[in-house]
Amino acid sequence: MSAIFRCEGLGKQYGGVVALQGVDLELEVGKVHGLIGPNGAGKSTFIDVASGRTAGFGRVHFQGRDITAVAPGERRRMGVSRSFQRTSIFPALTIRDQLDLAAHGAGGGDVEALAAMLGLDRVLDRRAEEVSYGQQRLVDLALALVGAPKVLLLDEPAAGLSVAESEVLATHLEEISAQWNVAVLLVEHDMDVVFRICHVLTVLASGRFLVSGPPSEVRTDPAVIRAYFGSTA
């Protein structure tokens, strides 16, 4: 199957520090592509550059079109959506207001149905700062899902969740990738979630591409073990 979202040579430099260098990556519809690596590997920088939030090097293609120069809001309308590492982006807004906002930006979307799917229907009219942390993370996921995007870039959606909450999140992501015909990029530290739902893994270390392949191969790759633990022992 051909890639719906393709990144070529993505890079980013902050002053003299190279945060990301020449990383290629392709996303396919219906598949979850995990992007992992130790802290400082450049994972979030990759999502920032790929989503257009941060200017960087390289090219980004969506459905065969070069969208490198396309503004982030326009990318959202085209169907390229992302979540953010920090939670509760708009704490004082009700969850309904936030989803309405995202629906407008995405060019439409059934807010009620999405809230029901994620179990947020009972808290729709409460402010984000008033609901539990787990629900706030689901709000962040919902913001990215409104309007049924074609590409979903998720930046550590399980961060800070309990084991039970992570399992709920993983189940949602599995259903979404399988049923929505969406290509998912998942940056995540929770390896239980990563190995449960990802079809492909790419590993970054110190801003550079390290290895890519099926999760079963990547988890035993000596280079990956070295990157995480400093030795293959």
């Binding site: 257009g52 939030r53 959202r76 982006i89 807004l93 207001d97 936030q98 407008h104």
Partner: protein, 282 residues
């Protein structure tokens, strides 16, 4: 006593409408706009010029429209570039705008005081519990309530108001959610400037019009913003009402300390609640 309370309400209402413009601009651009007082003064002069030719209502419309246009230009030329800069830079630049606008007004209208009579329909007194009270002052309260209520309703229930609230929280994330923040900025600053201009012309028959009127009230509207909590409308409302009463009763009961009372109040709030009444820490 009641008349003093009503006078406090009148002054507080005026302060709130003026401060609402400051809060709007700070909320979105994080720019502390020292030129806001000059916009209030410019609104009074433009409104006065039009009102003396075509009537008070035309003056009000002219002040609102002209200052909205000035606000849009200010955002496109200055505030957009100032967003995210160090506070000292924004203070210096916007204070410079204040000085320029004051000089422009002196060149066009001169340095003398101007007076504007209330429109005939509002030029009288009513008896409130046996005490006479100018109708125009009640109009100031009503006009301020209408402006504040309209702004609150727009922000709370309007679609564009929702975009403004989101962009005020985090403009870059709002942009990534599809909000056209490039259009929101001029709209919000234009609205904030229009509020300043409208409060200027509404205040004109109540206070006299002179080139320093903006600088004088600017200090008090900053006191309102700081006491209320920067960026908070609810806080600014409470602070403006409180300050109105402090000014009104202070003038009568403690005339020698009246000018100092707002600042004592602000110092007290800053000591016990540095983030202001409705502000958040950090």
């Amino acid at each position: 006593m009641l008349i003093n309370a009503l006078n406090g309400l009148v002054y507080g209402s005026l302060l709130f409408v003026l401060s609402a413009g400051l809060v709007l601009v700070y909320g979105l651009r994080r720019v502390v706009n020292f030129a806001h007082g000059a916009l209030y003064m410019l609104g009074a002069y433009i409104g006065w010029s039009v009102a003396t030719l075509y009537g008070f209502a035309a003056g009000v419309v002219a002040a609102g429209v002209a200052l909205a246009a000035v606000g849009v230009v200010l955002d496109l030329v200055l505030f957009r570039r100032l967003a995210g800069r160090q506070p000292l830079i924004t203070v210096i630049v916007t204070f410079g705008v204040l000085l320029i606008l004051e000089d422009v007004v002196r060149s066009v209208w001169g340095t003398g005081n101007r007076a504007l009579d209330p429109p005939a329909a509002l030029d009288g007194v009513v008896e409130i519990f046996g005490a006479p009270f100018p109708v125009y002052r009640l109009f100031i309260v009503a006009a301020s309530a209408a402006m504040a209520g309209g702004l609150a309703a727009w922000l709370r229930w309007g679609r564009t108001g929702l975009f403004v609230r989101a962009a005020s929280h985090d403009a870059s994330v709002a942009a990534m959610c599809g909000v056209r923040t490039a259009a929101i900025g001029p709209m919000v600053v234009g609205l904030g400037a229009a509020f300043a201009g409208l409060s200027g012309i509404v205040a004109a028959p109540f206070l006299s019009i002179h080139p320093s009127m903006g600088s004088e009230i600017l200090v008090l509207s900053f006191v309102v913003s700081v006491i209320g909590g920067l960026g908070s409308f609810a806080g600014a409302f409470v602070a403006a009402m409180l300050l109105g009463q402090v000014q009104s009763f202070g003038t009568v009961l403690l005339p020698e300390l009246a000018a100092l009372l707002p600042f004592l109040l602000m110092a007290g709030v800053l000591i016990f609640r540095p983030q202001g009444i409705a502000g958040t820490k950090g």
